[in-house]
Amino acid sequence: MKKTFKLDELDCANCGAKMENAIKKIDGVKDCTVSFMTQKLTLEADDDKFDQVLAQAVKVCRKIEPDCEIVIK
């Protein structure tokens, strides 16, 4: 499954790059891109693990850049 999320308050490009790397390392993630320009996170992960992976991604994101938040609709 592939989903796109908006990133709120992503202010630094390097943080975006760091987040992308960290999320890619989460177990079950097939692919992930963080676009600083569009302020979007695209996450591709196994269907059954998706929610789990997303929760972990949110945690990782908070650790790297506490100001930035993944908006979950």
């Binding site: 202010d11 975006g16 790059a17 891109t33 676009s35 600083f36 320009m37 569009t38 790297i64 506490p66």
Partner: protein, 617 residues
């Protein structure tokens, strides 16, 4: 400016005023000076210090806040109070500038792609009600008022208006639509009320597909972009360790701990990779945005990168270089008038559904009077035999003429020749061919001017037609009488033959070309308004069917890549220069801050030029 940015601006002004005041009235040295200078430092830098502390707690060591904190606290510790506060101030000014510039560019790029319709009008009990386009289903009727954006793809039932397609195609000339015509979402109805029956749900409509494509384009990162993120990961720790080495190793041999510590702090300030990390994706994003404005949709930065290396362009003929519509291009009667020849042929073909028959009927430009046709017989693969006003008329190819024993002669015009015989006597022939698009020749010339060394045409058409078209356009190679599978083989052959460093681009109208589009290094689909298969298979989609846009796309990609390279060289060059000067004590911390945020800002401004690529004068 956002609220957050305004707050920073106030802090900048406040601390700048304080710094100037202190410079005039306060002592330069001593603990009183330290205490006094700590005030503007705290005002301007408290958030940096807070973030640095918090991020260390999270295990993020080499982040820019931390580096700035170490550098300025270090300056404070070595007694450089003014410098510590001023460097922090300068850093914040740079950061603010950077965030405003990025925000601006983001906005101007998204404004380009602002084609999302906000409502659809539906009629309920004679009254118009505005609804969300997503709630309208296929088959519903919607009303579009003058000045409104067409919310969903559909067919016009009633009304007439001129439609501005510029947001989608970059074409400024409006198109007139009448009842029965298709309209595409995202265009603006300029005049006239239109009643439209919806043919696609919002999620599948043109506008939704384009928005989806543009929004996802950022996820297909170019090689240069990946290189720079990988580089940044190594760069920061490397410079930090160099700083550590600089602070410790030289003083062991030559002494002067404070001097070397100060030089090491300069290293730390330069170690932030932001200028690079920010400017490369911004350039690609700007390039994609600028192309989008011209009706060229690029599915990702990586495709711009490959496109810039184009050496070979392979074209499909029908529908790409030619209109794909057959027209009568020559009428050569014998002993009768041109009009009579056309009329005879059209009457004879009037029951046929063959594309050739259609084009002859179009040339007649009126409904044939069918009562004058007393019999009509279709001769498969040869033509038709009909009796019109009591005369036997045979219309068809060479084979038919041979069969009925009529002496015919070939035509010097290239195309499909249709012979006409009346009562066994040759009456002349009509030539039917596909017309070239107005911009095809120009497109090939522009490509050549931009250094494309080889232009190739692939066609399923006959050798004579293919070679004639290629000659008229001035193309290098032509392969004719190819079936769709043959086109894939030819492209594979060309891929093997080309210079491995250059890229092969295939341009097609996307209908039968999906396998070739995906096989080529870059697949460009044309006239995508409405064609799903084309948007899916291609890497670059031209919204209208103008082949001249290919050269434009190429020049946009080249310009974008040049700006990307400029930025990489500039940012790395300045950083390297300041690092070297700093190591020998020739650069101040001011220069270091410039090498960090100043370079970022310049790189961002340079990247923004990508947005204006391809704008025609």
């Amino acid at each position: 400016m956002k609220r957050k940015q305004k707050k920073v601006l106030i802090r900048i002004i406040l601390s700048a005023v304080m710094l100037v005041a202190l410079k005039i009235f306060a002592p330069e040295e001593g603990w009183i000076a330290a205490l006094l200078y700590a005030v503007p430092y705290a005002v301007i830098g408290y958030d940096v210090i807070f973030k640095a502390a918090r991020n260390i707690a999270h295990g993020q060591v080499f982040d820019e806040n931390f580096l700035m904190m170490i550098a300025t606290v270090g300056a404070f510790a070595t007694g450089e109070y003014t410098e510590a506060a001023a460097v922090m101030l300068f850093y914040q000014v740079g950061e603010l500038f950077q965030s405003v510039a990025v925000g601006k560019s983001r906005k101007s790029i998204s404004a380009l792609m602002d084609i999302r319709p906000d409502h659809a009008n539906i009629e309920v009990d004679g009254k118009l009600i505005e609804t969300d386009p997503e709630e309208v289903s296929v088959g519903d009727e919607i009303i579009i008022k003058p000045g409104e954006r067409i919310p969903l793809d559909g067919v016009v039932l009633e009304g007439e208006g001129s439609v501005d397609t510029s947001a989608l195609t970059g074409e400024s000339l409006p198109r007139t639509v009448r009842a029965g015509d298709d309209v595409v979402s995202g265009c603006i109805d300029q005049t006239g009320l239109l009643r439209v029956r919806v043919t696609k749900q919002f999620g599948e409509s043109t506008v939704a597909r384009i928005l989806d494509l543009v929004e996802n384009s950022a996820s297909k990162k170019a090689k240069a972009e990946n290189f720079i993120t990988r580089f940044a990961r190594v760069y920061t720790p490397a410079v930090c360790f160099a700083a550590l080495a600089l602070a410790v190793i030289p003083p062991i041999f030559v002494g002067g701990w404070l001097t070397w510590l100060h030089r090491a702090l300069i290293f730390l300030v330069i170690s932030c990779p932001c200028a690079l990390v920010i400017s490369v994706p911004l350039s690609f994003f700007g390039g994609i945005g600028g192309a989008g404005r011209q009706g060229i949709l690029v599915k990702g930065g990586s495709y711009l990168e490959v496109l810039s290396r184009t050496g070979t362009v392979v074209f499909d003929k029908t529908g790409t270089l030619t209109r794909g519509v057959f027209n009568v291009t020559a009428v050569h009667p014998k002993e009768i008038s041109e009009a009579t020849l056309i009329r005879l042929a059209a009457y004879a073909e009037s029951y046929s559904t063959h594309p050739i028959a259609n084009s002859i009927l179009d040339a007649l430009n009126q409904e044939p009077d069918r009562t004058r046709i007393s019999s009509c017989e279709e001769l498969s693969g040869r033509g038709v035999k009909a009796v019109i006003d009591g005369e036997e008329v045979c219309v068809g190819n060479d084979k038919l003429m041979e069969q009925i024993g009529v002496k015919w002669h070939p035509c010097h015009h290239v195309g499909t020749t249709v012979h006409v015989a009346v009562n066994g006597r040759y009456a002349g022939h009509i030539v039917i061919s596909d017309e070239l698009k107005d911009t095809s020749k120009e497109a090939i010339e522009h490509l050549r001017a931009q250094g494309v060394s080889r232009t190739v045409m692939l066609t399923g058409d006959s050798k004579a037609v293919g070679e004639d078209t290629a000659k008229r356009l001035g193309m290098d190679e032509v392969y004719s009488e190819l079936l769709p599978a043959g086109k894939v083989e030819k492209v594979e052959e060309l891929l093997e033959r080309k210079d491995p460093k250059s890229a092969l681009v295939f341009v097609g109208d996307g209908i039968n070309d999906a396998p070739v589009l995906s096989r080529a290094d870059i697949g460009i689909a044309m006239g995508a308004m409405g064609s799903d298969a084309a948007i899916e298979a291609a890497d670059i989609v031209l919204m209208d069917d103008d082949p001249a846009k290919i050269a434009l796309a190429l020049s946009i990609s080249r310009r974008t890549l040049r700006i990307v390279r400029e930025n990489i060289v500039f940012a790395l060059g300045v950083k390297a220069a300041v690092l070297i000067l700093g190591a020998f004590g020739l650069a101040s911390m001011w220069a270091a801050v410039f090498a960090d945020v100043g370079v970022s800002v310049i790189a961002i401004l340079n990247a923004m030029r990508c947005l204006h690529s391809g704008r025609r004068n």
